[in-house]
Symmetry: C2
Subunit: 268 residues, 2 copies
């Protein structure tokens, strides 16, 4: 049966997921396009439903993908092309949308041992959050912790910008900033923040052991109360009249150095 009406109740959950307003990790996320859905399947993410534009019925890539998940009891729902186009959040819809559950993680397990964490405080741009999840995975962070008022990891723009890292990188949300700082300090984490006027070049600081890199809001940075908890403030030396780098760029540069020091990557 092909869904031919945009008002069909089966599309309701999908629409909600595509709006991506939910700030928790329990609501399903919408995954758009063959490549991202493939990444989700390979990362053993639980796909609940797949919505396929009618015209994809004979597409070999879509067919192969659906073949792969046949044994998983995932329902495949066909949608008329014009209905599909009206739902898709991208300008060039790719004809396949999946609803999936992100894996859930326990904070306590993630804080054990000597992990490198990334903590985003009121980071608002979904593109930045997605990019950052990708960098966090690339540089061996164990988890990304998000405070309240941060972008939601279930926003489809986050999913897309993460290029699949969201399916693997533990991402916990909803922390209250000050309580999280206290908890991390109490557990012996070294808190490091990048600020434009910090005295220390980021390459001269240490990121070994239990360490957490903090990243703040795109416009306001980190507030003074948070900065008072920070052990090391580092600076990325810059030329020109630039006040600051993009938040995801800055934290990725520091993460790359942390990974080198921690020997988490296959450096020479």
């Amino acid at each position: 049966v092909t869904i031919t009406s945009a008002a069909n109740p089966r599309l309701k959950r999908l629409r909600a997921a595509l709006r991506g307003g939910e700030r928790d990790t329990q609501s399903p996320v919408a995954i758009e396009g063959v490549k991202l859905i493939q990444e989700a399947i390979q990362s053993q993410v639980q796909i609940e439903e797949i919505f396929m534009a009618e015209s994809q019925r004979r597409d070999p890539e879509a067919g192969s993908l659906i073949g792969q998940i046949r044994h998983l009891n995932t329902e495949v729902i066909e949608v008329a092309d014009r209905v599909f186009a009206s739902i898709s959040s991208t300008e060039s819809p790719q004809g396949l949308l999946a609803l999936a559950r992100l894996p859930r993680f326990e904070l306590n397990a993630l804080l054990e041992g000597t992990p490198l964490l990334l903590v985003a405080l009121e980071l608002q741009d979904p593109g930045n959050l997605g990019t950052l999840l990708r960098s966090a995975e690339a540089f061996g962070a164990r988890a990304v912790l998000l405070t309240r008022k941060s972008a939601s990891p279930s926003n489809p723009k986050v999913v897309r910008a993460s290029a699949g890292s969201i399916f693997r990188m533990p991402c916990l949300t909803g922390f209250e900033s000050q309580a999280l700082m206290d908890e991390l300090v109490h557990r012996g984490f070294l808190l490091v923040a990048t600020t434009p006027r910090a005295p220390v070049d980021f390459r001269r600081a240490s990121y070994r052991g239990k360490a957490a890199l903090l990243i703040g809001n795109e416009a306001r940075g980190l507030n003074d109360r948070v900065l008072r908890c920070v052990h090391t403030q580092v600076r990325i030396p810059m030329a020109g009249l630039v006040e600051s780098l993009n938040a995801a760029i800055a934290v990725s540069i520091v993460l790359c150095e942390a990974a080198r020091q921690r020997e988490m990557t296959n450096s020479e």
Copy 2:
């Protein structure tokens, strides 16, 4: 006189600029919001017109900005709030939009001496291009060169993501990839590209003298023909299952190292 109709012909150029489809640097760019317009004025960008939502008339920030440019013959056009909201490209319109001309630069002058250049080949995402202009300025690149089929620097998303760097960083567009590679090689530039499987850690390569960092398309990277012209391929060591970093992140990490080697930033 307040414009009360969205069909008013005075809004035509503004609309075109907000669509940002033009791939050249001659058409005017739309700049949204007080902060960005301030950046443009400070960078001595030529503002042609300012469109102000009616409700901004008594806003002190908007008033101060308009006071600053009174002597520059910039026309201020008042627009009814609902018309303004229908035109603005952002979800939360800030009530001020400017049309401006980006400064123009000559390629020959930019290639003189021993500059560090950034060359983007078919880079498509406007957010990536804007972020990259910001990083290019922060790390002392002299210019950003864009091939055909790259995002347009006059796209408002590029302007926004550049956080003002677009007003200062020379950005030339429309190059044919192969001709540009030939020209740079002919002029003695060292061409460096970041590729996921390159043998050399990016921290072990040299970026001194006349050097150009290449960045490719987000999905396809750099093509083989371009890679054959490249002198040094470098790799950013990564952990996990990540295939690659976001393009703007990867090139910013390498730019940061290039700036350190070239002593262009105030490192310790």
